[in-house]
Symmetry: C2
Subunit: 235 residues, 2 copies
Amino acid sequence: MTAPLHGRIEKDLESRILSGALGPGDRLPTELELAAEYGCARMTVHKAVSRLAAAGLVERRRRAGTFVARPRLHSMVLDIPDLPAEVARRGQAYRWRSLERAILPAGAAQDGSLAIGTPAAALRLVGVHCADGRPIAHEERLVSLALVPDIGDARFDEEPPGTWLLRHVPWTEAETRISVAAAGGAIADWLAVPRHTPLLVVARRTWRGGEGITAVRQSFLGDTYELVARFGAGS
Amino acid sequence: MTAPLHGRIEKDLESRILSGALGPGDRLPTELELAAEYGCARMTVHKAVSRLAAAGLVERRRRAGTFVARPRLHSMVLDIPDLPAEVARRGQAYRWRSLERAILPAGAAQDGSLAIGTPAAALRLVGVHCADGRPIAHEERLVSLALVPDIGDARFDEEPPGTWLLRHVPWTEAETRISVAAAGGAIADWLAVPRHTPLLVVARRTWRGGEGITAVRQSFLGDTYELVARFGAGS
DNA sequence: CAGTGGTCTAGACCACTGA
DNA sequence: CAGTGGTCTAGACCACTGA
């Protein structure tokens, strides 16, 4: 029931900073002083202050002490939703419509605007994500057949390739680029919108141990999709 | 020079998981067993495994033990760049051009598509971000005069309001929504592009202790801007 | 070179929860 | 109800670095 002591110390120091009682550049008491103040061991204080440092509220320097950090640009956490789950969450029926499936020979997937960066052969998968029968996004994907040989046997009649990959292949690194584009002819047709309709383009590449697993470019209809990033709601 | 012991234990367990030696659902040794295995105190093991749990690689349950987590959709880290710094990094000259400055009476900034969610009076600031003299983004912002009274004295001749706020006001929570829109008349004119040009719209609200500080909507020219989120490069 | 934070120990008691 | 992880103690030694 009672919160841990290190958590209460952390919140207490945090409120001193956010209230302005401690301003940017101000020095906090030393760990020994705080331990005396709270009547606890130094390790307990250390844990509290270390978490504030990890959160970016203070900066610690040996010999010098702990100082309130200057307010700075935090990084935010971007949730990359699984599309079928996201559509279902909205109460709509999800469907994946496969348009193209081809095997690219070794070398063909190494470069270009959509590339997995390895010389391996790759599977190319193109399709459309639909919600309640309406297309909401066009997807073009390459998957390394060297790292994911099993995908040759997978059927993508119901489940999109991204969901299949998520369940079968662990990844360690990913990069997502978010940009905007006007719908070209083919994509405009598949999405059933006029040419030059604004699209939100999410391009993602994932790796496992430095080896490219997959590269995907998803083009969302602007009026049906939105990405949300948050900071601070969690802790 | 030698890495801390808890860090080496963490990396060791991590590699066991990423290599597949420990698969999803597998149980890790208990903290006491790991302490014996590494010949160290349980606290040291606890710190290592707790960090793996925070990173999402394992899940911990009392009495049951510690288990390798199922591969899941990781959240990614989105860098929210400071525009003047970002433009300078590209080797271009940044300039902020102020278009509008008005004080909204109490209540006017509480609701609507751009809102800080409090009944306080607010400052409304509109302007354009330029790189090498070319407009790259239109910005519309509300700032709470209750939480940021000093902003009434600030001049925004050279520095945009976002950079000023960053230096003066600490925040604890933020939410960013990324979407796409076709340029309307006024914004198209200010950005010197045809109407219906696709724009990347970044809408952000920030709070301090639950109180809304500012709300901003930035509309970027699609061909000059891109947001990047990464996972795994850091640790 | 002295004071700070970083790490680590060898215990202890407890909360939780699933066998 | 027994085993696990969560927390906390009261020390210790050390690395670093700025007064």
